[in-house]
Symmetry: D2
Subunit: 390 residues, 4 copies
Amino acid sequence: MIDGTLLPGCPIAWGMVGGGHNSQIGHVHRSAALRDHNFRLVAGAFDIDAARGRRFGEQLGVDVQRCYADYRAMFEAEAGRPDGIRAVSIATPNNTHFEICKAALLSGLHVVCEKPLCFTTAEAKELLELSLARNRMVGVAYGYAGHPLIAQAREMIARGELGDIRIVQMQFSHGFHSEAVEQSSPAARWRMDPAFAGPSYVLGDIGTHPLYLSQVMLPGLKIERLMCSRQSFVSSRAPLEDNAFTLMQYQGGAMGYLWACAVNSGSMHGHKLRVIGARASLEWWDEHPNQLRHEVQGQPAQVLDRGMGYLHPAALQEDRISAGHAEGLFEAWSNLYHRFALAMEATDRRDREALQTILHPDIHAGIEGVRWVENCVRSADAGGIWVDYC
Amino acid sequence: MIDGTLLPGCPIAWGMVGGGHNSQIGHVHRSAALRDHNFRLVAGAFDIDAARGRRFGEQLGVDVQRCYADYRAMFEAEAGRPDGIRAVSIATPNNTHFEICKAALLSGLHVVCEKPLCFTTAEAKELLELSLARNRMVGVAYGYAGHPLIAQAREMIARGELGDIRIVQMQFSHGFHSEAVEQSSPAARWRMDPAFAGPSYVLGDIGTHPLYLSQVMLPGLKIERLMCSRQSFVSSRAPLEDNAFTLMQYQGGAMGYLWACAVNSGSMHGHKLRVIGARASLEWWDEHPNQLRHEVQGQPAQVLDRGMGYLHPAALQEDRISAGHAEGLFEAWSNLYHRFALAMEATDRRDREALQTILHPDIHAGIEGVRWVENCVRSADAGGIWVDYC
Amino acid sequence: MIDGTLLPGCPIAWGMVGGGHNSQIGHVHRSAALRDHNFRLVAGAFDIDAARGRRFGEQLGVDVQRCYADYRAMFEAEAGRPDGIRAVSIATPNNTHFEICKAALLSGLHVVCEKPLCFTTAEAKELLELSLARNRMVGVAYGYAGHPLIAQAREMIARGELGDIRIVQMQFSHGFHSEAVEQSSPAARWRMDPAFAGPSYVLGDIGTHPLYLSQVMLPGLKIERLMCSRQSFVSSRAPLEDNAFTLMQYQGGAMGYLWACAVNSGSMHGHKLRVIGARASLEWWDEHPNQLRHEVQGQPAQVLDRGMGYLHPAALQEDRISAGHAEGLFEAWSNLYHRFALAMEATDRRDREALQTILHPDIHAGIEGVRWVENCVRSADAGGIWVDYC
Amino acid sequence: MIDGTLLPGCPIAWGMVGGGHNSQIGHVHRSAALRDHNFRLVAGAFDIDAARGRRFGEQLGVDVQRCYADYRAMFEAEAGRPDGIRAVSIATPNNTHFEICKAALLSGLHVVCEKPLCFTTAEAKELLELSLARNRMVGVAYGYAGHPLIAQAREMIARGELGDIRIVQMQFSHGFHSEAVEQSSPAARWRMDPAFAGPSYVLGDIGTHPLYLSQVMLPGLKIERLMCSRQSFVSSRAPLEDNAFTLMQYQGGAMGYLWACAVNSGSMHGHKLRVIGARASLEWWDEHPNQLRHEVQGQPAQVLDRGMGYLHPAALQEDRISAGHAEGLFEAWSNLYHRFALAMEATDRRDREALQTILHPDIHAGIEGVRWVENCVRSADAGGIWVDYC
């Protein structure tokens, strides 16, 4: 139960890069980090426009002296303060993640970074080495992973309740970009520009969400080969795709399918997973995140509800209110930041054992997302052929 | 859009009475009030056990000097401080609401009180007069009212999209008290003891939630007569009911039906409203609060989703994230405290016009809930007969 | 499994009164009776307009000699033939049911009659005595009772899986008569004219459907008292109601609630039952009749599907196709006529024991529907007061 | 409206090959053909065991003289009778379809054949030429196509309500064969034996159902290339697959995805289509076949219901009962046989124009199914590569 009492060592002095005025995701980060008082927002380089960023910081209640013109200035100044930030969250366009993340680690900060962590696995490995060398946590913002029923699914699968896993169906397929909204929406525009977004649009921007959830639920599953076919149905988006189908063959013979789509007209999020075992299946849908469907072949289908006593302890430990009340995305993100706070503390203590028990999207999750997009793009650009996963 | 920027005059120095360790609703109040930084928790009399309350306050980060033994001590001490609290939230058992609320008003504080505001309409009117005399806001914790789609329903009905209103179906019917859980759960126990809970259990504890939502959606609807039949299916709960059916005849001929039940085995919340007009109906369900069903006779049923551009501005102004993402109960409560902050400021300015535009459960909502329970109990105790609403 | 093989003694020579051209329910009766070849349509008095009825009969393939001008002619002529009808179905306006049913019994025919069987319990008892004296089956067209999951619910309740029954929620609330459609629709018009429809509209026309299902599921439940409030929201319908709320107190203390409504704008059928016990609830909805929801308090909700091996044999015996395929209303009605054929044979054999095992809406079901409407109307016309059930 | 009145030229004298005792699909064919009295079952070679077939035929009421030992005997004897059959339905294992269908055409019969029509496109073309030469109708048993809302989808797409079609999502993914049920179930066994089933299991047995529905909804859509990956999760089924993923690239750039699966544990049918256009999407699910979801981007989602006046006439012409009542699979099949009867009559009249207006799965649909499986198998057996559709 999370009830607002502070974690040991908290609140953690915290800053943000990006996420300024009109940034929706910036608000989500702040809302999540500050919710349980485990972080305190004391500094920021919120905007590429320094003056606008400063005004915004003041509106948030940040001391104007600590509203910086850019991340370099922030990292340097904060490092010199006795009360300087210990952690930073990065919510900027994709093309800047690598350099900011690297600079933050070099400044000795724990990092929470928007996905993708970077554009290449080579870059990702550089960040990994740096995080190890400096003993700093790098977390990735896979917010959906904080929903308690994701942990429930993981526990049920681990206990063999589904039997051998055969098929993993994943999708994140919304319709909000059925038309070329990027012509009028700046928030959409950079996502479809390779200079800012990197080598993919929907694969990296939304496809990695269900991919990460599948990794949480099925930590032992490893991709052996995959094939990806991608399209730009709004043709001005080429070479970036607004739709992609990916088939995966896992080691051991299980199969995966992931559909990432931004042109699924009329669909809200369409973010779903279905894990199919030899005995039973589990299905979760982010629009009704308080329910998990459990279907045992030959038995009545079951609907599990968040907060109920029949769930595994791992799915109950972060409840904020009893069953029957709808929790939403903000609770999931807050749970994630709660885990990040725990992970930062454990990292500082070099408590590797504790770290193992904190289910959070760490740098390995970030690397895996980058790798998956790389492989998908390699397959798609070769004509949708099967490629060995590397 | 709510994005974390501060309202003018905020944060408001704020204290709590009750809502201590293990109080779920206390956490909800704090989570809601602090979420948008419009309130700052600086004082509390959190527990009937003073030492336990003090420890809990410290864990929340409240200055130990301002963790008080009881509400009287808090109101007196805070009134003497230049930085004393301006507002207090009351989350104690029902039987104490009246005296604490009265004391808070006498101390010049704005008040947010758990329902029921008090036990009799006579008491309620005393609070009303006091709040007017002292120019202080009294808000009641009808948290569901903060869901954006409730405002959407209100706007659609006001615009005549349903035609003349004929029937209002309401229910809050969960199954969590199918057995005598009060024998082991202290949180359940006082709710079923007339000494603490007052003249009703489910009518006042859960029935007033959909009743208030119906009042928000249909501000012009006035009850003319009602009849209520109540039962104690777990017999040790008598004279308090764990199930009640209420039929209402509104002025003008529309009919209402409200089912309050705590023994609806296997049901989660079962908190639903359906408003039926001559042309169309609206239906809302708190377990999937981001959807509103709009059924026009002779046309395909429509499902409206929170955050979409086709909604009325009143249903969009408190969005925290774009459509497709699930918002939950905490967002609804935060919206409510956001409105309470606005209402406190408007009250202080004596800006009656602004106050009219802030859709919040004020003291009149509190009075109406008390009156409704009084009438229901009067009918039920007379054998379930029709009584004139008074 | 029903697979088209003939029952012993079948097909039964069968005629119809009413149900002619443009009669929807007439088609449903024929479709149901002929589906499994247990009946053969050989005679009819299909229409009040004799010539039109004759033409229609011919289009159905009935020998023109056996297309009669009225039911009296048919009963007389058929009685004189060696191959004359053994059974008749009555699908005429309500006000004629009693006299036709009586004449059929006097002619030695088995009868399937549309509800209501008649208008008063006195009439109903006369029919009962006649059916006993002549040893003929009288069945009533409660078609929904043929859905296999109704039998499943009955079995689960009988086995105590729900615990003591506390509350029965029933509703049949559609929106198709939100406006005064009777001004242009002959099929609707007579239903709202007391001369043809009798003392009620929605209570008798749709309310008795869920009432009968509750009797099937809960054969031991007896109404002790009830109160009914009825309205004519389309005022030209008065004194007949287009909406009615009925509360029932059963012997032993359980409570029932039945909402019958024809002005529930935008609703399709809204035909639902929820039976609530001390341990669990069951819920069934006629728009998705292949599913039955089973909710045990404290456990995941379960969805049972028609045709699955985990169901009771009584819920499997009339399957026509394996699970997963949608069966609909026509299958339910066909099952009912299948049972009527079995019941006619058993009646002819005077095999009372067999008759007990055939779950069909017999004359007692017909009487009970008439009685319930009588009591509801008595309560409503006295101002919605509680009346002893008699 | 279908109401039981006979079509001109009907009933058609009709026989069956296969579909005997314990054959579920045989019952479905008979139930569908006889439902509206457009066919009369007068002959049959119901079983490979002649005596058992004769007994079964008698139980169905077929003259024992016309219960034949095999199809050859039946075709020969019936051809010699003045009242001989005009049409035959074939419900035997897959490997016999070609020869029986050919023999029927050579005997001058109209044919309704279970899918697949045959095993190779070469065979299919031979049947096509024969049907043209003999002027006989060949229909294929794609029963789901008879659901009225399929016609509604076709009309809406034809009118451009979805905008340019971009993506077609198809699936038929049940869980009934998660285990090796074929070891005990004869009905399952032959389906997984290449000698009887042909080159595929789930692709041909269930995958062609949504494929055909997509062809009905989107008659102009032509596959250009496809890739298929198939698995035998129950390994004893190899080389036949119990799961297959197929990606299709259509001429003009739209994409299709079809998932056929018999090991989707806990799923009932999982038979769904979603057609996505630039403006809107349509979604249909066979377990709730009376609803069609219409999602226009930026507008509330709509749920269309069978039988409602806002539907296109093509979706209303085969209604058997008004909206709100659940129709099921049997109605869909009956509608199909209704169309087959119309098509047989039109074929006999050589009325090509009328034939064009009767939406039925004709021999071209049969050929297309065979071709699709051929292409899928070719791709899958080459390692899941893209192949040109031929």
